[in-house]
């Protein structure tokens, strides 16, 4: 009897899981396995059907200058966007978490970049960055700096893209920090105030540690974004000039849809997959234990 009940519970659990499990297998697990499989094949326009080539794709990838560039760019892109947008999000949240006039207006202003689609935002920024009449260049003019073609120059294009992405992302993290800040019990702050803690000490010893779960969440999201959002490249630079703003996912996108080189795309995907697994492992096993969940 007992055994039968257990069986029934198990079946129920599986049945409830089934719908999402099917989608997980269909749209995540199966594509991953197929991608890994395909990365051992040459499958491009010059082959009628995929040819098994072992690790050749990976060897060629290491020698591919464009891939190396995209890899290095993506590293700097991650370094440039993740800490800054998360910290800025925290800062903005602290800024608008006060009861003064106009906070809701400020909150809206900081949050609105999140609401517009990336493609529209990219178009707007494409014109912001345009020499002569673009907004950025008009500001630079006021500072007495001449016209800069920020997107048209290999040395500035990546920074320009990073700034735009920070603008787009910071408001998103702000909302989570704002929710977290409002959940911090007032008593803690009052008690510490009575004990004579300065504002600075309150922040470091109480607020910041209590925000850690949110920080972990934001860093994870920012990290995945650094590898998965490329809409802005399609609109603004197409990875140029001369691959100076090329990122890994854009490289994969071009290999698949413009060059129809499925083997190369699969190989690059496997590389990104491994990077993501390593980062995720570091984040969860490394920092998760140190975080205090209240």
């Amino acid at each position: 009897m007992r055994k039968g009940k257990r069986m029934q519970e198990n079946t129920m659990a599986w049945l409830f899981l089934l719908p999402s499990l099917i989608f997980l297998i269909l749209f995540t697990l199966y594509p991953i396995i197929k991608t890994v499989y395909l990365s051992f094949f040459q499958s491009d326009l010059s082959t009628d059907r995929p040819i098994y080539v072992g690790l050749t794709n990976f060897k060629m990838m290491l020698e591919d200058e464009v891939f190396r560039k995209a890899f290095i760019n993506n590293f700097w892109f991650a370094v440039g966007t993740i800490p800054t947008s998360v910290m800025l999000g925290m800062l903005l949240a602290i800024l608008v978490n006060r009861k003064i006039k106009g906070t809701s207006l400020a909150r809206t202003a900081f949050f609105y970049p999140v609401v517009i689609p990336m493609v529209s935002a990219a178009f707007i920024w494409l014109f912001f960055y345009t020499p002569e009449y673009g907004m950025i260049n008009k500001l630079l003019h006021l500072l007495g700096i001449g016209d800069l073609n920020l997107l048209g120059n290999s040395s500035t294009v990546l920074i320009a893209i990073i700034v735009m992405v920070i603008w787009k992302e910071a408001g998103f993290f702000m909302i989570f920090y704002l929710a977290a800040l409002q959940n911090i019990p007032k008593e803690l702050l009052e008690a510490s105030h009575i004990d004579g803690a300065s504002k600075w000490m309150q922040f470091w010893k109480i607020v910041f540690p209590l925000l850690m779960p949110t920080t972990l969440f934001s860093v994870v999201i920012a990290t995945t974004n650094a590898f998965k959002t490329i809409d802005q490249l399609v609109v603004m630079t197409q990875g140029g000039p001369n691959n100076a703003s090329n990122l890994l996912l854009y490289y994969i996108y071009e290999s698949t849809f413009r060059f129809m080189d499925y083997g190369k795309a699969a190989t690059a995907t496997v590389v990104v997959l491994v990077i993501m697994i390593v980062i995720a492992a570091i984040q969860f096993f490394g920092t998760d234990r140190k975080i205090h969940y209240s």
């Binding site: 719908p19 014109f127 020499p131 120059n153 071009e254």
Partner: protein, 439 residues
Amino acid sequence: MKKAPVVVGLLILFISLLSACGGGSSETNSGNTDSDGDTIDLTWYYPVNVGGEVTKVIDDYAESFNKEGVEVNGKKVTVEPVYSGNYDESMTKVQTAVKNGKAPDMAVLLSVDLFQIKDSIISLDEMIANDSEAQEMMDDFFPGFMLNSEAEGKTWSVPFQRSTVLLYYNKDMFKEAGLDPEQAPTTWDEVVDYGEKLTKDGQWGIELPATISGYWIYQALALQNGDGNLMSDDGKEVYFDTKEAKDALQYWIDLSTKHQIMPEGVLDWTTVPTDFIEGKTAMMLSTTGNLTNVKNNANFEFGVAFLPGNERLATPTGGGNFYIFKDISEERQLAAMEFIKWIAQPERAAEWSIDTGYIATRQSSYETPELKEYTNSFPQALTAMEQLEHAYKEISVYEQGKIIKLLQDAIQAAINGDDENATLDKAQEEAEVLLKPYQ
């Protein structure tokens, strides 16, 4: 026992989910199977690459074709147009469909993508030879537009929405600089000369875009600088490292660095027309596809002219052609040709040109009253057609996507200060490796 209804409910939900997925996919492809009824229902993939309500125009065409009741083997032919995104996306959709054995009956794709899909399409020669109407149509297309349709002595596609590069110039600025507003520069040296007079604070002489289709603008310069092209006609060789090609790139770079009549750095394909409309540049090179955009948005008088030449006048053609696919029955292929003949009639090609800004593909279109009236009120549209006399084949090779990227990267690297001889040599070397399997 109480839980039984829940389990049953879940099972039903799950089964209906599965069948919903299955039903969806089989439905979308049913259009391509041979119809054994009394109609032939064709699927037509088409891209939209310019602004305006092109989808509506296309739907109207299909509707009036379906009403007309064209017949093949006693069966009525109908067409269902399927919007397939821009050119790149359309190509992807077609390739995916072909790979899965579900090719459309016909598609409009870039004329230069011929070598990418040659194995999936049919050559049209046999059909044309057996059909005097088709023969007449093919003979009436502007010869410049047929260049990219031909390979290995065969004809593979029918011109549909076609364009060339044009020189746009701001007449008001010409007047202001003391230049004749009816006389655009005709040589490279004149461009520099005019440009120097037109450049002042907040206003540039000329702009050449180097992203998206920037390689196409560069090809125009390379063609003007000699008597060759950037590739062989069979699409198996490229010539990026010739002196003509290198000097053409040098000229482009000199416009900014030496003559200082063009902004430095890579200029974006989408912002250059806006620069022109905003009055930030007096001249630009862009596609004929921007004629309607500039006409509607510029609040000054503008002119268009042939591209300035050096050794000769030249422009590459561009745009999309009709392809008919291989994996469908002969009857469907014939039906597809009937539709192409219908849509390429001189009057309809004229209408298409007026609606979209593309150059009408047939010479006799320019004899139609509609197009005559249009070009009278808007003579700029005529310049584009007249320049076809100097049109050459757009670069079209095997591994088109990868090789175009190599070329564009080389151009952008040189604009950003790398030595143009070295960048073009490198592009040539890497392109040769890519093309080796096809030789």
